[in-house]
Symmetry: C2
């Protein structure tokens, strides 16, 4: 037996306890919990078969009461002695996609982001569409291309047509961007015909991850009318490997910004589900933005209520993301297209003026939240850009 | 042993042989093939474990050579004597969803439909967007709400705002519609970073089904800017239970309509994959439209090439649908919003003037294709509308 050392000020203390799927060497992927700089093998430590699986789905499907109970057992376990064979150093494990994703939905819940994108994509119109303050706008993304942090991102090819070009051409994306988001994982689903009220959010949603919704802005701008983003987004969406349980985010809960007009009754939050989470975006290891999640107009409880208000069913493993997190200040913008105003106001990275991603660039998004006595961490979602395969023209700096 | 009787003129002759998942009484769902008015249990008849599954996925994943070989074995089998215990009458079986759906994508590949919808949704603008003739426009739908034919459709609730209303309200959909489409099932997927060329279509796509993409037009019209349809579609998408193998559609292949401008090289069809399939739409058992698939501007090979041209991976069970099939004539329109021109030109059903679906209405879509010597059938995709759950206002006739 061994005691797990938690370094002073660790973002993975006993009030965090995020779940992930890990392997060591050639061993089968299984569920672990992160404590300090250690990963505890839960099947080995708790003797529960539900953790000897390559995804969190079976555990998440067991429901809220189990989530509470298992969290109590883990807290008791790691506060005492743990079988040595169940403990690994975080450096020696490989992390995998934590869930088998059902459907993936991406929202658009930051007023600052939606206004900025509206100004950039539709310069001669009102930045916010008439529906925006009445419902959390969202759309379905590609579940099959959700990848775990660390997966290399091949620059996508696609059709682009710049405003000054007469016809589109096919080639490598010239305006490769990121979107720093928070993602929510449905633990227990809901049947066809039954909505999930805002008050039922915490019994259905298991936890949260960081999301980088990589975006090919030139492909997106050409394709997105009238049916929305498709290939500009579907080449890859990266998520962080550690799922922070909603149970760990109690101290981070804050009201959303004032919603005016008041939402229709089915979208009213019965309790605050804004979240005071601070993100950080690093471009080639240099911090370029600090998006504040507390600025998000729509809460994740409202997103889920909206998504199911037409009777759509949900499944264990469904992922829905917030959309880009942007605050009112320039340094709080979670997408490069906003941060550099479409390339008009570049930022300095590696001593160079930069607007979009070059081959070889790395982006890492991290986040922390208050726990009452300190802070907890989400870990990171990281990705490196590899050159396009095929006949791309040179990307824009 | 028994011989299977195929009635003269059956749409399920030896040149069709569609696959589905069936059960009898309380028995476990398993894969069968339809021959005449019989269903042959393939695990029992061929002794292959891959058919003793509740979906076609494992069989589809085996790949094109297997599909060819199994089709030959089935042809030989049902041409001779079949074990009696492996044969059921079509009336005694229950059909299930034939596949476990991966991602679901819906295209918009009919020029007539896209033009009509453009005129109806954006009356003061060009009906076709500038991108439409350069790429097959599409978007992701909700895979988790794809249901098998026969599943009742609960009228969805949602936010609607009519043009003459100042603010949106929440209630039952007032303009519930259908979209008659053809869906294509990916049998063998493709890895991240690798596209599927138009010439590889037939080795990746296993077969086709009929699709009814139920659409709540009032919800859709309010929500769809700028990120596309979401709740107006995600409450249910019905598919027919019998998957017609692509191998059965050789005689139905025709060139697409002339594509002008010529598609970019990666979207050029190397061989014709237009399909001469005749659909029929029945509203309360009365035929109201005959959409011709041969009129579709983009071929399914082009759709798949486009969908993967950015490096997006595909998986066994991915479903992509054509979008509403509409021809140039009014009676060829595969959505009621087009057929009745947004309600301005109602059709007569049950002796009444009708534009959108009422509670209790039934829609059945069927289709046939030439085989060289006769015709084959797709069976049908059928659904009945049940009243909304919740506080809906009266729907519009």
């Amino acid at each position: 037996m061994t005691r797990i050392d938690i370094p002073e000020g660790s973002l993975f203390g006993l009030d965090n306890l995020p779940y992930g799927v890990f392997s060591v060497g050639d061993s089968a992927p299984r569920v672990g919990v992160r404590v300090g700089d250690s990963v505890v093998d839960l099947a080995a430590a708790l003797g529960e078969d539900v953790f000897a699986r390559p995804s969190l789905n079976a555990f998440m499907a067991q429901g809220h009461q189990w989530w509470v109970q298992v969290r109590e057992r883990i807290t008791a376990l790691v506060g005492g002695e743990v079988p040595e064979a169940a403990v690994f150093a975080v450096e020696e494990v490989t992390m995998h996609l934590p869930v088998e994703v059902g459907d993936y939905v991406d929202f658009y819940a930051s007023e600052h982001h939606a206004s900025n994108l509206g100004r950039l994509f539709r310069p001669n119109a009102e930045p916010l569409m008439p529906n925006w303050k009445h419902l959390p706008v969202g759309y379905h993304g590609r579940a099959g291309t959700v990848v775990v942090s660390g997966t290399d991102i091949v620059r996508p090819c696609g059709q682009r047509k710049a405003p000054d070009e007469d016809t589109p051409s096919f080639g490598a994306c010239r305006r490769l961007d990121i979107e720093a988001e928070l993602g929510f994982l449905v633990g227990t689903g809901s049947p066809l015909g039954a909505g999930i009220g805002t008050g039922e959010f915490a019994t259905h949603v298991f936890g949260a991850v960081l999301v980088n919704d990589w975006s090919a802005r030139d492909i997106q701008a050409w394709e997105y009318v009238p049916l929305g983003p498709f290939l500009g987004k579907s080449f890859a969406t990266s998520i962080s490997p550690w799922v922070v349980p909603l149970l760990a985010l109690e101290a981070a809960r804050v009201p959303t910004p004032v919603q005016d007009p008041a939402p229709l009754p089915h979208l009213r939050d019965t309790e605050p589900w804004g979240l005071d989470i601070e993100l950080s975006v690093a471009w080639n290891e240099q911090e370029v933005a600090q998006p504040p999640y507390r600025e998000m107009y729509w809460s994740p409880a409202q997103m889920l209520a909206h998504m199911t208000s037409n009777g759509a069913s949900t499944r264990t493993g469904d992922l829905y993301a917030s959309g880009t997190i942007s605050g009112p200040d320039k340094r709080q913008r979670g997408a490069f297209i906003e941060l550099t105003w479409g390339g008009a106001e570049p930022v300095t990275v590696d001593g160079e003026q930069r607007s979009f991603l070059l081959d070889g660039d790395t982006v890492a998004i991290t986040a922390t939240a208050p726990t009452g006595t300190g802070r907890l961490g989400f870990g990171e979602v990281r990705g490196r850009v590899l050159p396009a395969e095929g006949d791309g023209a040179a990307p824009i700096r």
